[in-house]
Symmetry: C2
Subunit: 230 residues, 2 copies
DNA sequence: AGCCACAAAATGAACGTTCATTCATTGGAT
DNA sequence: ATCCAATGAATGAACGTTCATTTTGTGGCT
């Protein structure tokens, strides 16, 4: 990061970033063709997510990503403009996909409390694998202004989905109306993120995280529901 | 880390870290000795906290810390063994001091809800300046294993203080007994941390953060209190 | 008081290492 | 024979750390 300078070649962010191919086939077989090309960008991205999540962006060596993806260091630069570009691509490619999932899951459920449970499961990575959320969170905190620029809008969308669920809960009278949906959303996200972090730090079982999340949700929902009118 | 070598003047890790001064006296006066030395270590630490909080550990250049502290690059190495050592010293020197404050404030208040409010105020940095919490949080996530080793125990203490308040609230019947104090503590911390982060990201007014925290605490306390008896 | 010798403290240019990035070469496919 | 994805050693810049030099302060001596 650093280097806001950087003569930066073209750096037309994201759009038409790479080129190469795209295919969907292949994936594994790669018979013998030198056409095993695609799936490579994919593999690199997936590996990068794993490594970034584990060690953080700065502590990750490009060569480690390469090793994890099973390609040579230089190959990374056939698919990405720079190390920064790898991270940015994660935001571009994957996060929107995650948001898709989130929206779909929420839409497929009409009970607001059940919707929040779905969100919790997704955020904890019980649906998609925790690494992505980790990358989002960690890098949102540690990376340069430039990077934040790419992550923040997506993150905002994420929070917005949660806030909407809460707002609709208020509208239907299930939730208290004296709290801002935005604040409620951000604190829910923060609490889950915190639980995830302390859980990761302690190296405990995934089931523990699930249990912790359920307990928190129970507090949170109890506090959010209309005071009861008996 | 690196460099276990180092003839290093004093700076033998953590334990009896310092040398130079230490005492409780001095601090400022330093009469006339060319012993004006002290206060410089202090300045460096304070500057480092500020810069680390703003840019993160990896993105911070030693020269930036030096500039912020108004000393030459080399001077830092008269007081610290390495850049890593600066960060570790923050944990050693400052965090224990913060924990001190926290314990004292909590002890000086007998109402558990009021105790939690105190904790919230402290965590938000309204008492000590938000930077320290930022450094703790961010670096807990991004730094090397070794670094985490120094931070984690302190962080655990922090959480433990909160957990104790909650446990005593349960003991006196104010709070529900069906949640683990540890989980409640971690989620409270996470939520506050998350609010702080999103607040910082949005560049809003400090008063907004305070307001957000109050709203969350209202949800949280409502959810934590025994289901009602009225 | 003025002067000197000495030492601690501070400085910042120079050093060496650690990577991100490049590019000349390879090898498999057509 | 030609092409081009892939390679990984070589390159060069960035940055943590060192150290020869300068500055600052102290006490002794006249």
């Amino acid at each position: 990061m650093g280097s806001e300078r950087h003569k930066n070649r073209q750096s037309n962010r994201g759009h038409e970033t790479r080129a190469v191919s795209h295919g969907q086939v292949d994936e594994r077989g790669q018979a013998g063709g030198h056409e095993r090309a695609e799936g490579k960008r994919e593999r690199i991205l997936a590996s990068a997510i794993r490594v970034f999540a584990e060690k953080g962006f700065y502590a990750t060596r490009v060569s480690e990503i390469a090793k994890a993806a099973g390609v040579a260091d230089g190959t990374i630069y056939l698919y990405f403009k720079s190390k920064d570009d790898v991270l940015i691509s994660i935001f571009e490619d994957r996060l929107s996909r995650l948001l898709e999932v989130l929206r779909k899951e929420v839409a497929g459920e009409s009970n607001v409390e059940r919707q929040l449970e779905k969100i919790v499961d997704i955020q904890l990575g019980l649906i998609d694998g925790r690494d992505l959320a980790e990358v989002l969170t960690v890098n949102l905190r540690q990376s340069s202004k430039l990077l934040k620029q790419y992550a923040e809008p997506r993150f905002r969308e994420y929070l917005c989905i949660i806030a909407n669920v809460i707002a609709s809960g208020q509208a239907e009278g299930t939730f208290r109306k004296d709290v801002s949906p935005g604040i409620a959303a951000r604190s829910l996200w923060g609490a889950l993120d915190g639980l995830t972090m302390t859980w990761a730090l302690s190296g405990a079982e995934p089931s523990n995280l699930r249990k912790a999340a359920r307990q928190f949700l129970s507090i949170y929902l109890a506090g959010l529901k209309t005071p009861r009118q008996t």
